[in-house]
């Protein structure tokens, strides 16, 4: 059979496995297109000549920003890809043992990456083109501009850029897969699913102590930055407080997630009437081992969420403030909104994807566990509720800490902006909250549904 036919069949067969990868690439592409196409959007027609120049400036900034964004998205795609490959190692091992040449397996893999890549790129672009029309209207509405003529806009430049950057990313992914495959020995491929994870357990008292320490560090960081205020940015004498606060904040966040699982377990296992109820003991142990193995990525996700929330809410309120201050500065306001929204959403999607991928990558391991619980007499309802709790806590933990971080940061930063204009804190919270609920919540629900389906597949 030729590699292309096998690849087509594989993609169709493991569509569910590819699902989250597909979704990530698609959203990334759509977003990338929308924000790179702002230069050619009809709305600009209504702006004055000066303002048009400003928007061109914004477009240039977008250009530079694109490198940064595409790098983040590329890492994200690589991350999703590595989970996908891990799931399919056994299949690759089987091909080898049946006598297929490594070269042929490599070309199957290359075709698969190409197919999924092309498909998600095309769909992503279609969505991007469609949404960018709505984006123009929305911007006009927010900034009270009248639309004299509305025509379908299509940015060749943005299209070219999207295809170029994501094409390069797919090449890297393909190279990564082929190298990875060729480095693996056959037994490693065949027994990839039989991993024996020996958990290094911290004594419970140690995680409780570390947890309290991390809480202390975070509290100190909050106090320092609030005390220093915005002056930390400008006064040499206060700079140490700012730097110390950032360092303490980062270290505290990592320590928080490192100690969280143990602390959480200690807290609940002490309350027997909760611990020995329904599947609670099982659920807790699942969460415990999940956080225990992924505390580093959870910390990164939390910090990125924090950046996302802060940029997003500050950008929104700043552009409102600029508009209120001087109506002529509409273009600047639009620019600020675009850039902060862009960065904020890219970070948000990245975080949600990382969590979703790492949660779904375990679905097959978990399936045997759920099958056992089912045989022991657990009802589908009990199983679904356990899956829900696991996903909820996994998604909520980084978000909650990030919200606390962002609350403190926005408070400090807004004191600076307040000097220029009054910020509408309420509007800021509503808009940010809405976007987070929509994107992050959407990812959470998709992940939960997918995980539940896998857990209950057999029954």
């Amino acid at each position: 059979m030729n590699p292309f036919t096998v690849a087509v069949r594989n993609v169709r067969k493991s569509f569910r496995d590819y699902g989250i990868y597909f979704l990530t690439v698609m959203l990334g592409v759509a977003l990338f297109y929308i924000f790179n196409s702002i230069n050619s959007q009809n709305i600009m027609v209504d702006l004055g000549r000066d303002e048009l120049m400003k928007m061109v400036g914004v477009g240039r900034m977008m250009d530079t920003l694109s490198y940064f964004v595409v790098t983040i998205l590329a890492f994200l795609i690589l991350y999703a890809n590595s989970f996908l490959i891990r799931r399919r190692k056994k299949e690759m091992g089987l091909y080898t043992i049946l006598g297929m040449k490594k070269r042929k397996i490599s070309s199957i893999l290359m075709w698969e990456t190409f197919l999924v890549g092309t498909l998600s790129l095309a769909v992503g672009l279609a969505i991007g083109v469609f949404l960018s029309q709505g984006m123009a209207l929305l911007t006009a509405k927010i900034f009270g501009l009248s639309i004299t003529r509305f025509a379908f806009s299509f940015s060749v430049d943005a299209l070219y850029k999207s295809v170029k950057y994501f094409g390069i990313t797919f090449l890297v992914v393909t190279a990564f897969n082929v190298i990875n495959l060729n480095r693996q020995k056959l037994p490693e491929l065949l027994y990839a699913d039989k991993k024996t994870t020996q958990m290094v357990k911290l004594p419970l008292w140690a995680s409780v102590t570390l947890f309290i320490l991390s809480a202390g560090m975070l509290a100190a960081a909050y106090c320092l930055i609030t005390g220093a205020g915005m002056n930390g940015f400008f006064e040499e004498a206060r700079r140490w407080a700012l730097e110390a606060s950032i360092l303490l904040g980062i270290a505290g966040t990592f320590l928080f997630f490192f100690a969280l699982s143990g602390f959480f377990l200690k807290l609940i296992s002490g309350i027997k009437r909760i611990y020995w109820k329904n599947l609670n003991a099982f659920t807790l142990k699942q969460i415990n081992s999940k956080i225990h193995t992924t505390w580093i990525s959870m910390s990164f996700v939390c910090l990125m969420l924090f950046l996302s929330l802060t940029t997003f809410s500050l950008g929104t309120s700043m552009s409102i403030a600029i508009r209120a201050y001087d109506v002529d500065e509409t273009a600047a306001a639009v620019g600020v909104t675009y850039i902060t929204t862009y960065i904020g959403i890219v970070f948000l999607i990245s975080c949600a994807s990382v969590l979703a991928v790492s949660q779904l990558s375990e679905a097959s391991d978990n399936q045997t566990r759920y099958a056992l619980l089912f045989k022991l007499g657990a009802s589908s309802k009990m199983l679904a509720s356990s899956v829900f709790k696991q996903n909820l806590i996994y998604f909520a933990a980084p978000l909650i800490l990030a919200i606390v971080h962002a609350f403190v940061a926005v408070n400090v930063l807004s004191s600076m902006v307040n000097a220029l204009a009054t910020l509408n804190i309420f509007a800021m919270c509503v808009i940010t909250g809405g976007v987070v609920v929509l994107i992050y919540g959407g990812y959470f629900l998709t992940t939960y549904r997918n995980a539940r389906k896998t857990a209950l597949r057999e029954f």
Binding site: Q198, K272, R273, Y275, N278, L279, A281, F282, L376, S380
Partner: protein, 252 residues
Amino acid sequence: MQTILKVRDLEKVYGGRGNVTHALRGISFDVRQGEYVGVMGASGSGKTTLLNCVSTIDTATAGTILIEGADVTKLKGGELAHFRCHKLGFIFQDYNLLDTMTAFENIALALTIAKYPAKKTEQRVREVAAQLSIEDILDKYPIQMSGGQRQRIASARAIVTNPALVLADEPTGALDSKSARALLESFRAMVAELQSTILVVTHDPFSASYCDRILFMRDGKLFTELVRGTDNRKAFFDKIIEVVAVLGGEAA
């Protein structure tokens, strides 16, 4: 003694449209309380299908299965789950313990699924652990235990809810001979001291020689039955070997 399990004219057909496999062709037998019954047969004889039907994991095509008077072939969804956790105990060939939980928690899991009062859970687990002499490994994780120890934890999990019937599928399949012997001894103790009722599927004559009675299956039907009676284990073992030889040797 009261009859715990009553199987009548059980049939199971797989497939359809010209490609039909009769896994069970009308099987009837009883198991009384406190009996330790083995099911032997070559692969393909239908013994695993029989176990799956009795354990409500698979559904029968025709016939009835009464466990403590209740017909499990008539149960649906939620009722099935409820029935499984209250009336049945399971022991699998590959232990099937959860690797994220300690031995203690693995045993307690069966209780929490059956909605046993949370306050009494720990006490009940310790009680069963004492009966099977596994108190010293309760705090270990499965990965820290030997195969024999794991299977004894799995046995404790199977009987902790006081089920009407314990079902075991090749319980000694993955054990070395010493651990297998220890496990089989503890099965005997469960029957003698706790009046447990055990139905075990095996193809190993040595494991089978610990039973009170053995049902031999061939081609989805009951071939013959062997009762230990007053024989010692060695004599019973020899009789089993004879039947296995008649069956075609494949069962051993």
